[in-house]
Each structure stands twice: as structure tokens, then as C-alpha cells.
């Protein structure tokens, strides 16, 4: 276990009596594409919300030895934790370049904000190249395709220089080609960073996961390499037991999750 790891221990999240996450522990290291999977309502997104400070939680989530829980959202970000949302949230009115420039701004002094942008940061060019958006840098991000918006979000995390990338269903709504491209992108950027992906898409998980944690009803059901997890009878039971409902669950997950985020914003 290196110093740069994300270690989550005994994470608990309660929503007025309802235990959404009840004692989840896992760790993630640079160099692996870590997946968090599980049926609808298993508490995957809630785990990410807790780590990023959006939801109150007890237990511990440490990045390189620093406790994340209990800090305000923007302070956690400054420690190097970046995330994306289920619905791509980029600044539609601004161009791709402006989006990335804002993401790169966390290292800038506040006085420099008063000046206009001259030239492009090296990190931005690199991220544009990495995510294949180099041709779109002047496009208002509102008119990008769905897949491109997701890539832009990942590019923003790259220029933000996040040590941990928490990606919430990054390939939802993508075509097969886009999924493959995204998976390869994740494997490339995982070399130096911690990449933690919440996904529903089992096929995508099988192709690109290094290690997997399966959540079920707010607890860890199984943990390990893809083959191990798939061979686990407990996992099979959960997934086969709900096989009939799997299609409906997969279909309902997006709108329900989106409604959840909105509600939290209103609070």
C-alpha cells in the first residue's frame, strides 16, 4: 500500500434513519482501474458523495494519510479528489478551452483571475490531446455530443491535476465505440492516478476493470479481481436473483439517480 492510496474504512451514511451505506471498506491505488459495482440502490454513488463531502458520513476516507471526511467540498477537491456526475455537468455557455481553463485555475493566485487569458496552459493542451478533444477546443461545450461532454469532464479532472478520479457512470449513454475509447482512456490515465469507476455496465467492467468491489444494500458483498468476483456465489446470487429485474433496474437507474442529484442541490 503506497502513500498515495485512497483508503476507505468502515464508511457509514444514514439518511434520517435509513442506512444507505453501512460499513463499507475498500482501497484504491494508482495504476489500477478500480470498479465499484452493484445493483440499483446499493450505495455506490452515495459512497462517492461521502468521499467528496457532498453527503455527511462517519468512518474514514483517507487520501495519502489525510482524512477527507468532515472537510468542505472545495477543500477536499484541493487535496486532489476530483469527480464527475451521472449527468455530464460542464459549463454549456463556455467553450471547451474556457471549461478547462477554469478547471486549471485551482493552482492560480486569485489576483491573476482579473487578467484575461493569454495562451494555453501546457496541462490543458495535454488533456485535450489525451481525451481527443483537441479539434473542439473553441466549441461551446453545450453543443458537444454526450460522449464528448463526458470526456471533457475527464479532461477537466486531468488539468485539475486530481490524484483521485471518481467517475460516476462515465459510459452511460455512450455508443460501443465511445465506450471502448473511454475504457482505454481510463487505463492510460490510471497509470499515475487513482481511478475509481461506478458502473452498471457489466460488459464495460469486465473489459477494463483491474479490481472490483461489489456493493449490495450498502455493504461490501465481494471484492477482488474480475474473475474472482464473478466466480463468487454470493455475487451470482444477487445478480441472478435479480436477473428478471435487471433490465428494469438498468432502465430506471438514470432518471432516478438524476432526480436524486437535483434534490440534493435544492437542499
Amino acid at each position: 500500500m503506497t502513500d498515495a492510496s485512497l483508503v476507505v474504512t468502515d464508511l457509514h451514511v444514514e439518511f434520517s434513519g435509513f442506512v444507505a451505506v453501512g460499513g463499507v471498506s475498500f482501497d484504491a491505488h494508482p495504476g489500477e482501474v478500480r470498479f465499484l459495482i452493484g445493483p440499483n440502490g446499493a450505495g455506490k454513488t452515495t459512497c462517492i458523495d461521502a468521499i467528496t463531502g457532498l453527503t455527511r458520513a462517519t468512518g474514514s476516507a483517507r487520501l495519502g494519510g489525510k482524512e477527507l471526511l468532515g472537510r468542505p467540498v472545495h477543500k477536499i477537491v484541493r487535496l486532489g479528489v476530483g469527480r464527475t456526475f451521472q449527468t455530464a455537468s460542464v459549463f454549456d455557455e463556455l467553450t471547451v478551452l474556457q471549461n478547462l481553463d477554469i478547471a486549471a485555475g485551482r493552482h492560480r493566485r486569485s489576483a491573476s483571475l482579473l487578467r484575461a487569458r493569454r495562451g494555453t496552459d501546457g496541462s490543458i493542451e495535454q488533456a485535450l490531446e489525451e481525451t481527443g478533444l483537441a479539434g473542439e477546443f473553441a466549441t461551446p461545450s453545450g453543443i458537444l455530443s454526450h460522449g464528448q461532454k463526458q470526456w471533457l469532464e475527464i479532461a477537466m479532472l486531468l488539468v485539475q491535476d486530481a490524484k483521485v478520479l471518481l467517475l460516476d457512470e462515465p459510459v452511460a449513454g455512450m455508443s460501443q465505440d465511445e465506450r471502448t475509447a473511454t475504457g482505454e482512456l481510463l487505463q492510460r490515465i490510471a497509470a499515475k492516478r487513482i481511478v475509481l469507476v461506478v458502473e452498471h455496465d457489466m460488459d464495460f467492467m469486465r473489459r477494463f476493470a483491474t479490481r472490483v468491489t461489489v456493493l449490495h444494500q450498502g455493504r461490501v458483498l465481494s471484492q477482488g479481481a474480475v474473475a474472482e468476483v464473478q466466480a463468487d456465489p454470493k455475487v451470482q446470487e444477487v445478480y441472478l436473483g435479480t436477473a428478471g429485474a435487471a433490465t428494469t433496474a438498468a432502465m430506471s437507474v438514470v432518471p432516478e439517480a438524476a432526480a436524486g442529484t437535483h434534490q440534493r442541490k435544492e437542499d
Binding site: 467540498v73 477537491v77 455537468s89 463556455l94 484575461a116
Partner: protein, 364 residues
């Protein structure tokens, strides 16, 4: 929105400066020049509203409060200057032996007055904004709260007739920092100061809009949570825009006093605050020139139509407001862009995303 050619806006400001500072004094009568000066004061406040509301998404419905801080600071100074060593006339009226209220005393000093015009709005807006934005008060709640403050301040002034002149306000200023206000040449000078300040404010927001801060402000307006997840505290971003807009309202108020010659609670209350917003919405809140031009247009409408047909003017203003909101949600300044967009690609509408986002924000 993303201006690739800054010199277009800059030459626009230059043209505006020539019109206001050189052409207007030559062609307008003293009466209309003075009126234009009054509109410039509203326009200064409007430029600030454009920054806070148009770019920052904060519907500031109580700019009258900051307008009042500047206006009453200036009015108290001018009243004392006019009264000389004696107690101001209106105070003697109620109690011939009344001493000068303690808070009036420092306004004898020119330096203190000028400082107060700048610092009072900055201090009030900082503390108010800090408390509100850190607690994530936004949308309709923010709008109602600021509006309530304007009502409260107007009521307070109305009820303290001995100290502030109450509903009658402060008026009959004879001198403006030593210059006799009756002299047309001095009136013209006061107009030129107001017009020049408007140009300075336009220039300031031009720089803010093209700076990284301007981009961050728009980003905060459109997706505050996302900005938080980029490591910024959106409260600080909004606070800066809010404080700058408060300062501009105060400057507008300060110049309003020597130009109009009277300040009353009616000029700073709820109705006055909403009228300032109306000009901004009319002209186009997110554009550089829209707020200023809208405020001048509404001001002109008020003096020309409002004096010949006072009953009808309010309805015309209301009707205009409805038409603009319905058909030109980005104000009159979006007309040229719409026109060119329609000519370039007749099947593609310019994205009204900005409006949708803000209406969403304004909803509770």
C-alpha cells in the same frame, strides 16, 4: 458571449464616451443634459446589476440600499456645506435647539464623505454577501431578502424625519464641493463627472467580463456545484461580483444627488429598485452595453412620456417588460446577434440556455 475581438467592445465604449462627453453637451439643452445626467446615474447602478444579475445570476432586487448609501452620504455632505456653521434648516424646523445628530458630524469632511461613498457599500455588501453566500442562499430567497432590505431602509428613513428629512428627503443644495450648483457651467461639470464615471464603470466591467474571473462568474451562475467540485468556493466568486455591483450603485446614488437636487426614500425603495432592474432586463442583462442603455432608455421614457402622460407610462413600461421577457429574454441588445444568426442559418435558433438557467435559479 465569448468575444474573440476585444477591440469591438472597447471601441464601443469609446463611441459611447464621445457621445456622452462631447456630443451630448453640444446638442442638448441644459434641462435635457441634466436629465441625461440623471439617467447616467441609474445607468451606473445598472452596469453593476448587469454584473451581479446578468453574469453572476444573483437577482439583486434591492440595489436601492446601496444607491441610498452613496446618495445620502453625498446629500448629508452637501446639506452641511449649504448650512455652513448652522444646523441644517429642516432640523431646526422640528426643534430649534436640536443638536446635529452624531452620525452627521463626520460628513462635514470632504474626504470622509468620498470615503464613505466607497467604503459603506463595500462593507455592507461584503458582510451581507458573506453571510448569504456562505449559507448558500440563492434564487428567489436572495432576491426577496435584498428587496426587503430596500423596503426596510426606505421605511427607516421615512420614520426618522428629524435626522434624515424623512419622506421630504434632503434637498436645496447650494454648493457641490465649493462649486455653486445654480451655475449652468457647474451643472455641466457635474454632468460630465457622472458621464465619465459611467464610462469608467463600463470599462471596469469590460475588463472583468474578459478576465478569467468573468468566465468563472458565468460558470458559477450556470453550475455552482460544478465550480465547487473544481476546488473553488463559489461564495467568494459571487461575493466579488456583488460587492462591485453595490459599489457601482453607491457611486450612481452619490452623483444622483447634485444632479437631481433632491433625494427621498421614494428614490431608493422597492419601486425604485425594481425600476433599476427593469432597465437592465430591457437592455439585456448579460451584455456589456445593454444594462446602461436600458437604464437610460427607461429614464428617458419616464421623463418624456411620464411627464406628459403619467398614468399611461406605468402601463407602457409594464407592457414593454412583458414583451421583452416573452420575445427577447436577453434584452434589446440581443437583437443584432439574433438578426445575424437568423440570416446565417435560418433554421438554427440562438441558444436561449442562459435564460433557462437563470429562470431555474430564480425559482424557489
Amino acid at each position: 458571449m465569448t468575444k474573440s475581438k476585444p477591440w469591438i467592445s472597447l471601441s464601443g465604449i469609446g463611441l459611447f464616451a464621445v457621445l456622452l462627453l462631447a456630443v451630448a453637451p453640444l446638442v442638448l439643452t441644459d434641462h435635457w443634459l441634466n436629465n441625461l445626467g440623471k439617467y447616467c446615474c441609474w445607468a451606473i447602478a445598472a452596469v453593476g446589476i448587469g454584473l451581479a444579475w446578468g453574469r453572476g445570476g444573483m437577482l439583486v432586487m434591492g440595489q436601492g440600499v446601496f444607491f441610498a448609501l452613496g446618495a445620502y452620504s453625498m446629500a448629508m455632505h452637501l446639506t452641511l456645506e449649504t448650512a455652513g456653521d448652522r444646523i441644517p434648516g429642516f432640523m431646526v424646523l422640528y426643534d430649534p435647539l436640536a443638536p446635529l445628530p452624531v452620525f452627521w458630524e463626520p460628513f462635514r469632511s470632504t474626504g470622509f464623505t468620498l470615503l464613505a461613498i466607497v467604503l459603506l457599500p463595500v462593507l455592507l455588501a461584503s458582510s451581507l454577501g458573506y453571510a448569504l453566500f456562505k449559507r448558500r442562499v440563492k434564487g428567489a430567497y436572495f432576491a426577496i431578502l435584498t428587496q426587503a432590505l430596500a423596503v426596510a431602509l426606505a421605511t427607516l428613513i421615512s420614520s426618522t424625519i428629524r435626522e434624515t428629512g424623512g419622506d421630504t428627503g434632503l434637498s436645496d443644495f447650494k454648493y457641490f464641493f465649493g462649486f455653486v450648483l445654480n451655475d449652468p457651467a457647474n451643472k455641466r461639470m457635474v454632468y460630465l463627472i457622472a458621464a465619465a464615471l459611467l464610462i469608467v464603470c463600463l470599462f471596469a466591467v469590460w475588463q472583468l467580463y474578459r478576465s478569467r474571473f468573468g468566465e468563472l462568474l458565468v460558470a458559477t451562475r450556470d453550475a455552482e456545484e460544478r465550480v465547487r467540485f473544481l476546488g473553488y468556493d463559489p461564495a467568494n466568486v459571487k461575493l466579488v461580483a456583488f460587492v462591485v455591483s453595490a459599489l457601482m450603485a453607491s457611486i450612481g446614488g452619490a452623483m444622483f444627488v447634485p444632479i437631481v437636487g433632491i433625494i427621498t426614500p421614494a428614490e431608493i425603495g422597492a419601486a425604485a429598485s425594481i425600476l433599476m432592474i427593469a432597465g437592465v432586463a430591457f437592455g439585456g442583462r448579460a451584455s456589456l452595453f445593454g444594462p446602461a442603455l436600458g437604464a437610460i432608455a427607461v429614464g428617458w421614457g419616464q421623463s418624456s412620456l411620464g411627464s406628459t402622460w403619467p398614468d399611461g407610462w406605468t402601463y407602457i413600461l409594464g407592457l414593454l417588460f412583458i414583451v421583452v421577457i416573452l420575445f427577447l429574454p436577453n434584452g434589446l441588445s440581443s437583437l443584432p446577434a439574433r438578426f445575424t444568426a437568423a440570416r446565417r442559418s435560418p433554421d438554427r435558433q440562438p441558444a436561449p440556455a442562459i435564460v433557462a438557467a437563470e429562470l431555474e435559479e430564480a425559482r424557489p
